[in-house]
C-alpha cells in the first residue's frame, strides 16, 4: 500500500465534511473558539474536516483570522 501523503490528501473526502456554504456559515463561531483555544474541531468536526479539504475556505479562514487579530 502506498504512503504518499500528498496523494492521500488529494483524494480526501471526509463524510463529515458539510461543504463550503455550511462551513462558511459557522466560520465566525469556529474562529472564535479557535482563538479561545477551545478545541473547535471537537465541537465542529465537520467544519474542521472541510477546512482540511478545501484550500479556498482555508484561505478565507486565514484571512478572517488575520482580520480579527489584526495580524
Amino acid at each position: 500500500m502506498n504512503e504518499w501523503q500528498g496523494l492521500d490528501d488529494l483524494l480526501r473526502s471526509d463524510p463529515l465534511d458539510p461543504g463550503c456554504d455550511a462551513a462558511l456559515d459557522l466560520m465566525d463561531v469556529y474562529l472564535e473558539l479557535f482563538l479561545a483555544d477551545a478545541a473547535p474541531e471537537r465541537r465542529y468536526p465537520g467544519v474542521a474536516a472541510h477546512l482540511r479539504g478545501c484550500p479556498a475556505c482555508e484561505e478565507d479562514f486565514r484571512g478572517l483570522l488575520a482580520a480579527v487579530t489584526g495580524a
Binding site: 502506498n2 496523494l7 480526501r12 461543504g19 455550511a22 459557522l26 465566525d28 472564535e32 465537520g46 479556498a56
Partner: protein
C-alpha cells in the same frame, strides 16, 4: 457529504450560548433601525469593511499581484457586496460570535469571489498539458520513489478517464491537477464554490475507491488534525 444539522450555531455551540455582547447589540440595533441611524451605521460599517477588504487583498498580494486602480476597484466591490449581504442577513445574526467577526467573513468571501472573477476575465482558466507529469512534485512525492509516484499518477489518470463524468473530469483536472483557484473556475463555469466542491467530493470518492480496489491506496483517508 456531511450535514451541518448537528453543528448548528445554537445550543451549546459558539460562545457557549452566552448573550450578545454590547458592541454587537449596538450594531444590530443600528442596522435594524430606519432613517439617519441606519444611514450612519451603514456608512461606518462600510468604512470598516473597506479597510478589511484592503487588508485582505494586501495579505494575498504576493499571489495576485494586483495594484493601483484595479486593487481599489476590487476592494470597493468586495466591501459594497459584503455590506449588502450583511444588511440583508442582519436578522439571522444571533450573537454566537462578535458582530465584527461575523461581518468580516462576508468580506473574505467577497474578496475570494472578486479575485476569482478578476482572473477569469483577465486570464481565463489555463490548463497545462504537462500538469499531470508535474503532479508528483506538486504533491510532495518522495524523490527516491519517483518511479512509484509516476506509476500511481498513471493509475490516477486512468481512473479519471474511466470513472468520472465529463464535468467531474473537468473540475478535478482544473482544481486538483492544475491547481486552478476554485473561485476562478466557478466564474468560468457559471457556478459557485460550494457546487464545485460537491463535484470534487464525489470525484475524489470515486477515484479513491478505484485506487483502493487496485491496491494503490487505503479506502479511507488517514485523519489529520
Amino acid at each position: 457529504m456531511g450535514s451541518a444539522e448537528n453543528e448548528g450555531r445554537a445550543g451549546d455551540g459558539g460562545r457557549g450560548g452566552r448573550s450578545m455582547d454590547a458592541e454587537s447589540a449596538r450594531w444590530v440595533r443600528a442596522l435594524s433601525a430606519d432613517g439617519e441611524a441606519y444611514e450612519e451605521a451603514t456608512g461606518r460599517l462600510h468604512a470598516l469593511l473597506l479597510r478589511i477588504a484592503y487588508a485582505e487583498l494586501n495579505r494575498r498580494g504576493s499571489r495576485h499581484g494586483i495594484t493601483g486602480p484595479e486593487l481599489d476597484d476590487l476592494a470597493h466591490q468586495a466591501a459594497a457586496d459584503a455590506l449588502l449581504s450583511i444588511t440583508r442577513k442582519i436578522g439571522d445574526f444571533r450573537g454566537d460570535s462578535r458582530f465584527t467577526t461575523w461581518a468580516y467573513k462576508f468580506v473574505m468571501h467577497e474578496v475570494s469571489s472578486k479575485l476569482g472573477r478578476h482572473f477569469w476575465r483577465t486570464a481565463g482558466v489555463q490548463l497545462d498539458p504537462e500538469a499531470w507529469e508535474r503532479l508528483p512534485d506538486r504533491l510532495g512525492a518522495d524523490p527516491v520513489r519517483q518511479s512509484e509516484a509516476r506509476e500511481l499518477v498513471a493509475a490516477l489518470r486512468e481512473a479519471v478517464d474511466e470513472e468520472l463524468t465529463e464535468r467531474q473530469r473537468r473540475v478535478f483536472t482544473a482544481l486538483a491537477v492544475n491547481g486552478v483557484d476554485a473561485d476562478t473556475l466557478a466564474a468560468e463555469l457559471g457556478t459557485n464554490r460550494n457546487a464545485l466542491y460537491k463535484t470534487m467530493f464525489d470525484a475524489r470518492r470515486k477515484l479513491r475507491a478505484r485506487l483502493a480496489a487496485n491496491g494503490h491506496l487505503p479506502l479511507t483517508t488517514a485523519r489529520r488534525s
